[in-house]
């Protein structure tokens, strides 16, 4: 098979996986603190703990979660530079997080059970 095609498929697969998991991760990160968090801080936090995606693709997910009503945001002036956007989990967001986390656990357990024995490097 053409190696570039394989690379393409790999990228595409990662993108498809991220389509659901990134939103879950963002909700989970925001659930850790009561206070609203600066968008950039959230991105950096996730970059360190779960480096599965380009940082630039996290922001549209934050905005879409806000669009769905799972997050709340407000813009605050900062001492240095332009105003900053802060995100906070809504009640709906908390409910979605617990439902999604449950789904994720079931899915990952099922997938891992099937993948047991598949070698990878």
């Amino acid at each position: 098979m053409d190696p570039t095609l394989l690379d393409d498929l790999e990228r595409k697969f990662q993108k498809e996986l991220n389509a659901g998991t990134v939103g879950l991760l963002l909700l989970a990160v925001l659930a850790e603190t009561k206070e609203p968090r600066y968008a950039y801080d959230i991105a950096k936090d996730l970059e360190e703990r779960a480096p599965i995606t380009k940082l630039g693709t996290l922001y549209p997910v934050l905005r879409s979660l806000e669009g769905l009503g799972l997050l709340d945001s407000r813009v605050e002036p900062s001492v240095s530079g332009p105003p900053r956007k802060y995100y906070r989990l809504t009640k709906e967001g908390r409910a979605a997080l617990s439902a999604w986390a449950k789904q994720w656990k079931q899915t990952s357990q099922a997938v891992n059970a099937v993948l047991k024995g598949v070698s990878h490097d």
Binding site: A39, L55, T57, P60, R63, S64, R84
Partner: protein, 310 residues
């Protein structure tokens, strides 16, 4: 690197992102640029605070790489926007699926001469010419099968014959459906409808009898004979007439072999007749192709209604 140079460097990236988002909603573009600039500046500021002697050029390259290619980031914004719009819309407008797009009804009809380039016109023509043969076969099969099973009904073997015949009708309907889809481009079933597991001739007979599709398929098979005769004669007539007209100037000017028995005026003006006939042929051939497209579409409609039941 000076602040102005940093600004210029970021500007190049933001411009590329803006270009990649071209055509999207203005608010979305603004959000994306805002997010990107905020992130890139914050990240650079953090790194500079950590290491005052930072190589800013290298750091910028690294930061931009971690942020993602403009095309990738733009795609993420667009995908997410669609997702939210779809989730929030009370009834999402259903986009036509590729399957539906294949239906002949939704294809635009080609222009008068554009029909020459439409493959579907030729495959339709082939189907229409073939329909005489398939029509004769279907009709014969249906009449023989029906009369055989009816005639044998007085004996006990009439029942298995009837079951086999009705089963064959459905199989023929499936085969005709494949032909219709291949040649007329109308989406038809790809496999037999599911068969219940229960065995025994009583249940299979009941199933075949109670399914309206069996009977409409049988009707279609019978109908295919008159339709096939009609399609075949019409198409052969149109095709031979238009091709003959088109060939007249060739025969006249190249082979000089046109004679008009009993048409004095034509015999006196053979060149004029040949040119007019050629021009008429030039119009008649596309008309034939358009006719085959239209008849094919009609036949596809008929096939869908008689052979497909949900």
């Amino acid at each position: 690197m000076t602040d102005a140079m940093i600004h210029a460097n970021l500007g190049v990236y933001l411009d590329a992102l803006k270009a990649a988002l071209k055509g999207s909603d203005k608010a979305l573009i603004q959000d994306a640029l805002w997010d990107a600039e905020d992130h890139l500046r914050s990240e650079l500021a953090r790194r500079r605070a950590q290491d005052p002697k930072l190589d800013i050029g290298a750091a910028l390259t690294e930061i931009l790489a971690a942020y993602g290619e403009p095309a990738e980031v733009a795609a993420a914004y667009r995908d997410r926007d669609r997702l939210v719009a779809a989730a929030l819309a009370p009834v999402a407008p259903s986009a036509p699926s590729p399957e539906d797009a294949r239906e002949s009804a939704s294809r635009p009809h080609p222009s008068f001469f554009g029909v020459f380039k439409d493959l579907r016109a030729y495959t339709s023509l082939f189907y229409l010419l073939l329909s005489l043969a398939t029509g004769i076969f279907f009709f014969t099969w249906a009449v023989v099968g029906l009369s055989l099973s009816m005639g044998l009904m007085v004996l006990i073997i009439g029942i298995p014959v009837l079951i086999a015949f009705l089963g064959s009708v459905r199989l023929l309907a499936l085969a005709e459906g494949r032909l219709v889809e291949a040649l007329l481009g109308v989406r038809m079933p790809r496999r037999q409808p599911p068969i219940e597991e229960e065995k025994g001739w009583k249940s299979s007979l009941k199933r075949l009898f109670c399914d309206g599709r069996t009977w409409s398929s049988l009707l279609y098979l019978l109908l295919m004979l008159p339709l096939g005769v009609f399609f075949f004669s019409l198409m052969v007539t149109m095709l031979s007439t238009s091709l003959a007209l088109l060939a007249t100037p060739v025969v006249h000017f190249v082979f000089h072999e046109v004679t008009y028995d009993g048409w004095t005026w034509g015999g006196n003006h053979p060149a004029l007749v040949a040119i007019v006939a050629g021009l008429l042929g030039l119009i008649a051939v596309p008309i034939t192709l358009h006719a085959s497209l239209l008849l094919g579409r009609m036949q596809g409609f008929l096939a869908r209604h008689f052979l497909v039941r949900v």
